[in-house]
């Protein structure tokens, strides 16, 4: 047993320690402040997480594992930690604008704990840690989805999320137990070394383990065919919770999916002449195609804006899986498709976080003011509040992939990575799907700007936090779309750290 250096080990989990302190502070404020002043808890969460998001940027990751191999301190984990912390921070601001969650201290506490889990998940390098972190993300989210006890739909969505989620994690665990059985190890690197040394003679047994584990991850990123919970939960859960589920838990799950498959089933691993990488890449490609298609086609017929965004988020998971599929590419002429793919996924998750928070932020403010979530009721939003209409338009354009919004660049990087990995046909399917997607996003924009409604003369007022939230996310979406290079280089740097 090597020496355990407490100082360095603690330094590695500084963001997690910060979140724990923040959670305790929220707990105290909730019990000490009178009901009328509890909205300040939201601002504490916003500034607290914003501040903590700076820590991962200041640490210099070395690619080593810490805490007995539980956590890998590399650039990729830092990038995803920043993403989930920003997501949590902005979600707090979204929640502060709503009348049902704004003053509920426990909401911010539970959300902070879920963010803590997402941070750990982005750096987990051991199947025990992956499991515990995944549950630390999920269990608070079950509670949050069912948070509005007066609202039957919210409770229903909580129950559905819980039943699907616990089933998926049990399936994934069975896969983990098989991997442990084959290798006698729980660390990802240890498992990989044992497999390379020929711990498994039959490819079939590894294939079973891969499928079982993939089910668990596919559930978390809401890829088809494990997406059934997504529309119901997105519609029923309180809107800020939906926003958080759609970005933070998804981003962290993509991080762990990349880390797990790259570490355990790398290109050079072949069992009995069968290359394992080909198998899981094909699984990813299949999930990518059906997610894109099913998500986009079903989104066409939606009448509820949150349900539409749910199907859109299934489609977006499909696009992102394109970047994961690019891992099959072999480096040549100075271009490494695998690194490009990982970087594209990281960049896409960064821009998707801001874009989706922007769209759901507008929906949260709108439904809080009018009590409606149907697309038809968005009619005349441009006359009721033109800033909200503009923000929503930018968000939807970014989801659709229209420049100058960030979504265009994000999709470009993903398709580019797929092409450089010799998956041209997959990129073409992606582009065709993006065209289908364009239709339903533009319909919403048309409703906002062209359609008339009886309430045209009733303006919707923006509070200061709501304005700040929309401002931050809109500017971030534009900046990521206009000057993507520094951010992409950052993502590329993180991608290389995954392979070293």
């Amino acid at each position: 047993m090597e020496n355990f250096d407490v100082g360095t080990n603690l330094l590695v989990i500084i963001p997690e320690i910060g979140l724990t302190i923040l959670a305790v502070a929220i707990l105290f404020m909730d019990s000490l402040l009178p009901e009328s002043r509890r909205r300040s808890i939201a601002y504490l969460t916003f500034f607290g997480m914003g501040l903590i998001a700076v820590f991962p940027l200041m640490l210099s990751p070395d690619g080593e594992t810490y805490w007995g191999g539980m956590i890998r301190h590399d650039m990729l984990s830092q990038v995803f930690k920043v993403i989930v912390l920003l997501a949590g921070s902005i979600t707090a601001l979204v929640a502060s604008t709503t009348s049902d969650l704004g003053r509920k201290g426990e909401f911010y506490l539970i959300m902070t704990v879920s963010t803590l889990g997402a941070c750990l998940l982005s750096s987990a390098a051991d199947i025990i840690m992956i499991f515990v972190a995944l549950e630390t993300v999920s269990i608070p989210l079950y509670v949050l989805a069912a948070f509005n006890r007066q609202d039957k739909r919210s409770i229903e969505s909580g129950m559905k999320y819980f039943l699907f989620g616990s089933f998926a994690s049990a399936v994934m665990l069975y896969g983990f137990s098989l991997l442990y059985g084959f290798s006698g190890q729980t660390g990802l690197q240890g498992i990989a070394d044992a497999l390379r040394a020929g711990a498994v003679a039959e490819p079939v047994s590894l294939v079973i383990a891969i499928v079982l584990v993939f089910v668990g991850f596919a559930f978390k990123i809401s890829a088809v065919p494990f997406h059934f919970w997504t529309p119901d939960v997105y519609e029923g859960a309180p809107t800020p919770v939906t926003a958080f589920i759609s970005v933070a838990s998804k981003a962290a799950s993509f991080a762990v999916l990349l880390r797990f498959f790259v570490a355990v089933f790398p290109e050079e691993l072949s069992v009995d002449g069968q290359q394992m990488q080909t198998f899981w890449i094909n699984l990813v490609i299949a999930a990518s195609i059906v997610s894109m298609t099913v998500g986009n086609v079903l989104a066409l017929v939606q009448t509820n804006i949150k349900r539409l965004l749910a199907y859109s988020s299934i489609a977006q998971a499909g696009y992102t899986l394109l970047g994961v599929a690019a891992l099959q590419g072999i480096a040549s002429e100075g271009v490494d498709p695998a690194a490009q793919g990982v970087a594209a996924v990281a960049y896409y998750m960064l821009m998707y976080t801001f874009t989706n928070l922007l769209a759901f932020g507008v929906v949260a403010i709108f439904s809080d003011a009018t009590g409606s979530e149907t697309i038809a009721d968005l009619a005349g939003l441009s006359r009721r509040n033109r800033w909200m209409a503009l923000a929503m338009t930018i968000g939807l354009l970014s989801l659709a992939g229209i420049p100058p919004a960030a979504g265009f660049i994000g999709k470009f990087f993903l398709f580019n990575a797929a092409v450089s990995a010799n998956l041209e046909w997959l990129a073409i399917i992606g582009v065709l799907n993006a065209i289908v997607g364009l239709y339903y996003y533009l319909v919403v924009i048309k409703v906002i700007y062209v359609d008339r409604s009886a309430d045209d003369d009733k303006p919707i007022l923006l509070t200061t936090p709501a304005g700040v939230m929309l401002g931050i996310t809109t500017i971030a979406v534009i900046i990521l779309g206009v000057i993507p290079q520094p951010f992409f280089n950052w993502a590329l740097e993180s991608a290389t750290s995954l392979f070293s």
Partner: protein, 103 residues
């Protein structure tokens, strides 16, 4: 000594029964019980693999099983709380009756 494959068979059978229960039972509490069955299957797997691993010095299999106990308890607590609030709002815990959200 009981060979490893016997443990694995029991675990696999438990897992399949649990999965069948999740998919076939209509009562939310029964679904939750089936999930617990699946988690127990995983625990049997882990502990059996640990016992037969060579050398037995590493305790990671046992540690993993212990973590699963704790998380399963937390999950059951949250799950039952959610099921109770479903019952309070609808006077039913049958999954088919909880159907406000669809398509």
């Amino acid at each position: 000594m009981v060979p490893l494959w016997m443990f694995l068979t029991v675990a696999a059978a438990l897992f399949v029964i649990g999965a069948y229960g999740v998919l076939a039972r209509r009562n939310a509490v029964a679904v939750l019980m089936s999930v617990e069955l699946m988690l127990n299957a995983v625990n049997i797997n882990l502990v059996a693999f640990w016992r037969f691993s060579d050398p037995v010095a590493s305790v990671s299999g046992q540690a993993f099983a212990a973590f699963i106990f704790v998380v399963a308890a937390a999950e059951a607590a949250v799950g039952l709380a959610i099921i109770i609030s479903v019952y309070r709002s609808r006077y039913s815990v049958v999954v088919d009756d909880v159907d406000m959200l669809k398509w």
